[in-house]
Amino acid sequence: EPEVTQTPSHQVTQMGQEVILRCVPISNHLYFYWYRQILGQKVEFLVSFYNNEISEKSEIFDDQFSVERPDGSNFTLKIRSTKLEDSAMYFCAGGTSGYRNEQFFGPGTRLTVL
């Protein structure tokens, strides 16, 4: 059964550095999402992406964040200048359907900002 994959599984970076988190969604998915989960807290929406553009973004998704689907298979989240509070699990998700809104999540990337 196809799965969403994410790399790296764990990224450690220094504050102020840029990071790129990568995701390979399931091939027939059309809608793509990034969520994050700070340790011990609930899963929070960051951004949704459809038809090669951002559909919706949360207040968390400020100018330091960007998303891209450069080659039709990879889906990336870039944080330009990481802060300590960006430390979290970042999950990529994808889906095919509009009204059912079923989203299938990847295993996540644990980002640690020192």
Binding site: V4, Y31, F32, Y33, Y35, K42, V43, E44, F45, S48, F49, Y50, S55, E56, S58, M89, F91, A93, G98, Y99, R100, N101, E102, Q103, F104, F105, G106, P107, G108, R110
Partner: protein, 112 residues
Amino acid sequence: TQLLEQSPQFLSIQEGENLTVYCNSSSVFSSLQWYRQEPGEGPVLLVTVVTGGEVKKLKRLTFQFGDARKDSSLHITAAQTGDTGLYLCAGGGYGTASKLTFGTGTRLQVTL
């Protein structure tokens, strides 16, 4: 702001017992999904309900969407140790590529 509150937050029961987890909101959702999440892993989709009053069964798990599409419940019959985990409800909005709003989670521990 849409909020989903789950109760209880923690539940520790013995194998064979039944339990119900609740997911409540003041907002209406187009769909309601239940996920299970293991430590350090991504949420795994268990079920999606989209119609008010809908009931879905997955072996020993029964999911119900409230008539007004603001709340949901997950009932587990004869819990097993393998049911141990974090259960999350998530409400879907309307429109293309709509986000999911996640609940606060219920951590279930089933012991022998």
